[in-house]
């Protein structure tokens, strides 16, 4: 038996903060602790740090610094974008479109707008890879359609939407376009001009930045009603004292991700190939979910016949492999993944999903160990289910 080791393969859930990032952040928690809104030298120092961070991010987004709003993370960015534009354009109409494969920060926000605020929400169907057809999307846009949100890279299945193509269509119709780029940031292009998006959400902890900080890009001129009201921070679009250290950390983490992008991606590609081939070759009744090529380099997702992810994850955890199912569930209530159901998988197989996502420091030996443990766990769970049925 191979000796037990700890292999973390859940980098899509979160990443450790890069020590280089922590170093940049530290001064803003101690000597440079000022409030960016203050007039005095402490305030100025903090303001300078935040505005420098804004410029760094704006450069990567290919946008103006004033188009960046700092938030507490991906969920807040998504909420602010959807509610903000939904309400901001209410005079133009109340029809919104999204997809059934969004992160719940997007999906639940649309559902709430439909339930409590009288919005009409269309969930644009997806194909077997979890991707929408831009032509069909356009067919669903009508007079009162004001806003569309489509996920960039999917958190559960890794598939990447061709945002540019979608944006071209929406531009003609005058519909505002948001994307949840939380999973894409750090690996995919965030150039808002090239992508053609009007709003874009990111979260620092997905790319080796700290937790609790994110950003929303909001194109100049897009009407955005604030959700969190209070002071006039962020040009009145998001009240609350700025998280200076977090913002500095996010900018540094994103800068490093851009700088090291080609090496990181090459590394992910080699290991992902090893992982996917290893698992699919060793196990029968195992399938890759999401698009085979148009997907996040670090992300592999599978379904297994005759397996439920709750039990699979339990077995993997005890074997030292930290992974995730479709979406995190700790309550023992195995509901099939909505994303997989929307893609046409049956409920039976949709409960047997597994996501393995790599990090920049993942090694070949980690992958080898994980393949072995996944194969072992899948077989164990299958045997157990057979014995108990």
């Amino acid at each position: 038996m191979t000796p037990q080791r700890d292999v973390y393969l859940d980098y899509s859930a979160t990443t450790p903060t890069d020590p280089r990032v922590i170093e940049k952040m530290l001064p803003y928690m101690s000597q440079d602790f000022g409030n960016t809104s203050s007039l005095h030298q402490y305030g100025r120092k903090a303001e300078d740090a935040v505005e420098t961070a804004r410029e760094v991010i704006a450069k990567i987004f290919n946008c103006k610094p004033s188009e960046i709003i700092f938030t507490s993370g991906g969920s807040e960015s998504d909420n602010l974008a959807i509610r903000g534009v939904g309400f901001g354009r209410v005079a133009d109409g109340k029809h919104l479109i999204t997809t059934p494969v969004e992160h719940s920060a997007v999906g639940q926000t649309f559902k709430q707008l439909a339930q409590y605020s009288g919005f009409d929400v269309t969930f644009q169907p997806v194909n077997q890879y979890g991707l929408i057809d831009p032509e069909e999307l356009i067919d669903n846009c009508h007079e009162g359609t004001t806003f569309v949100s489509v996920i960039y890279a999917n958190n559960e299945i890794g598939s990447i939407h061709d945002l540019k193509k979608i944006a071209e269509h929406l531009k003609i119709k005058g519909v505002i376009f948001h994307t949840d780029a939380v999973q894409g940031a750090g690996q995919l292009s965030l150039d808002v001009e090239a992508l053609g998006v009007d709003l874009m959400s990111i979260s620092a902890h997905k790319f080796y930045g700290p937790k609790g900080v994110g950003a929303l890009y909001c194109r100049e001129g897009v009407p955005l009603v604030s959700s969190q009201t209070g002071g006039s921070h962020e040009q009145g679009r998001r009240a609350g004292t700025l998280n200076t250290a977090g913002i500095v950390g996010m900018a540094e983490a994103l800068r490093l991700a851009e700088e090291e992008k080609s090496e990181r991606i090459a590394h992910y590609q080699v290991l992902s190939k090893q992982l996917r081939e290893g698992i699919l070759n060793q196990l029968s009744g195992a399938y890759l979910t999401g698009h085979p090529d148009m997907r996040l380099p670090s992300h592999s997702s599978f379904v297994f016949e005759g397996v439920d992810s709750t039990r699979l994850l339990m077995h993997l955890d005890l074997a030292g492999v930290s992974a995730s199912g479709g979406s995190a569930c700790k309550t023992g209530n195995p509901e099939p993944s909505n994303v997989l159901l929307a893609m046409g998988y049956s409920a039976d197989i949709a409960i047997g999903s597994l996501r393995l996502s790599l990090g920049k420091d993942t090694t070949e030996a980690d992958i080898e160990y994980a393949i072995d443990k996944v194969a072992h766990a899948v077989e164990k769970v299958r045997k157990l289910r057979q014995a108990l049925s």
């Binding site: 709750t310 039990r311 309550t331 164990k380 108990l388």
Partner: protein, 363 residues
């Protein structure tokens, strides 16, 4: 290098299973906490959670697991619980029998479903916070004994265990009295207050099984005659599932002495009542017998018998019948021998067998 023995401990968030888990950690086992998510009816407003595993209890158990430094998982057990324990409960009531769901839960859920899940995790043992003790005799066979705290003993509902299960089961608090368990909880820094003792009808939103049966099986609520043993009709009942053996109140009939429910006849939908002297019986027949040493006795023998969870053990002669059932003759008549409850046989503190009461008398 000796590998640590791996134990899966069933956790409920309560003091007993928490102390059991902490003791196992202290004793040097590799401990894994597990909670079963059980089925609960959702028809009662504000409920929909089994009272053995509410979200609060789940959080409590998770916090305790974090505190004592063990992994914690929730095991989905809804469907199998519904299909075994709850179905059985409804079906037995339909047959005019008052079942003991805890015995069935131990039979199908803890010592099959949970047990097999634990074994699949390469565990050496399944542990629970039951007040009962497993010992090994000189013959190498495992024995089930009452818990050291007589007031808390749960061996009655564990009479379904066999040698294989006992070889792989630990009851860490079985040898300790409840006040001691509380002290240990304090020592380990765990919550010491018992919320409630284990709930026997844990899956009911409001604990009202009559209401539950009315909802899920309205056919059981058909009105019928209340009769004496002689056949004399005294009145009308409102559905057999509303009555239990020994019940006196709420019959709504008048007679020259107090009347009690002594039996039901589901085929004629009749509720049979009688006087206090009709209530007692000195014999019963039990079915689905389990013998914990794995050997079916061939001859009659004398032993103590418990006919309910909280009943006092009573001396009786146990005569094995050809079809695997047993006939039990007591020295004195016992009140309230209730079909569906367990008849559990003891030799001193040792539980040697158990089955389900089929009927009261020998006929």
């Amino acid at each position: 290098m000796t590998e640590k023995k791996r134990v899966v401990v069933a956790m409920s968030g309560g003091v007993d299973s928490s102390v059991a888990a902490a003791l196992l950690v202290e004793q040097g086992y590799e401990v894994i906490g597990m909670m079963m998510r059980l089925w609960a009816e959702e028809s009662v407003a504000g409920h929909g959670h089994n009272r053995c595993c509410t979200p609060e209890q789940m959080n409590d158990a998770r916090r305790i697991a974090d505190k004592i430094g063990i992994p914690f998982y929730v095991l989905d057990t809804k469907d199998v619980f519904r299909n075994t324990v709850v179905e059985y409960f409804i079906d037995q009531h339909r047959q005019g029998v008052t079942p003991n769901p805890c015995i069935e839960c131990n039979r199908h859920i803890r010592f099959n479903y949970l047990f097999e899940n634990a074994m699949a995790l390469d565990a050496d043992y399944l542990a629970t916070g039951h007040y009962a003790q497993i010992m090994q005799g000189d013959d190498g066979l495992y024995q089930l004994h009452m818990g050291a705290d007589p007031a808390k003993d749960q061996s009655y509902v564990l009479c379904v265990l066999d040698q294989y299960h006992m070889a792989h089961t630990l009851f860490p608090i079985g040898g300790i009295a409840k006040p001691e368990v509380r002290k240990l909880a304090a020592k380990f820094g765990l919550p010491t207050a018992s919320k409630q003792d284990s709930q026997d009808l844990c899956f009911l939103g409001d604990g009202d099984y009559r209401r539950f049966l009315r909802d899920v099986a309205p056919d059981m609520m058909e009105r019928g005659p209340i009769v004496l043993k002689t056949g004399e009709v005294l009145g009308e009942h409102i559905g057999l599932a509303n009555y239990t053996i020994g019940q006196r109140k709420g019959l709504g009939v008048t007679y020259n002495e107090p009347l009690y429910v002594i039996a039901t006849n589901p085929y004629r939908n009749a509720l049979i009542v009688g006087t206090q002297s009709d209530l007692g019986d000195n014999q019963l027949v039990a079915k689905r017998m389990n013998w914990l040493n794995g050997v079916v006795p061939s001859e009659a023998f004398e032993a103590d018998v418990k006919i309910r969870y909280k009943a006092k053990p009573t001396r009786g002669i146990i005569k094995p019948l050809a079809d695997g059932r047993v006939h039990i003759q007591f020295d004195e008549p016992l009140r309230d021998i209730t079909p569906g409850q367990g008849a559990v046989i003891y030799d001193g503190t040792q539980c040697i067998g158990g089955g389900i009461i089929e009927r009261r008398s020998a006929d």
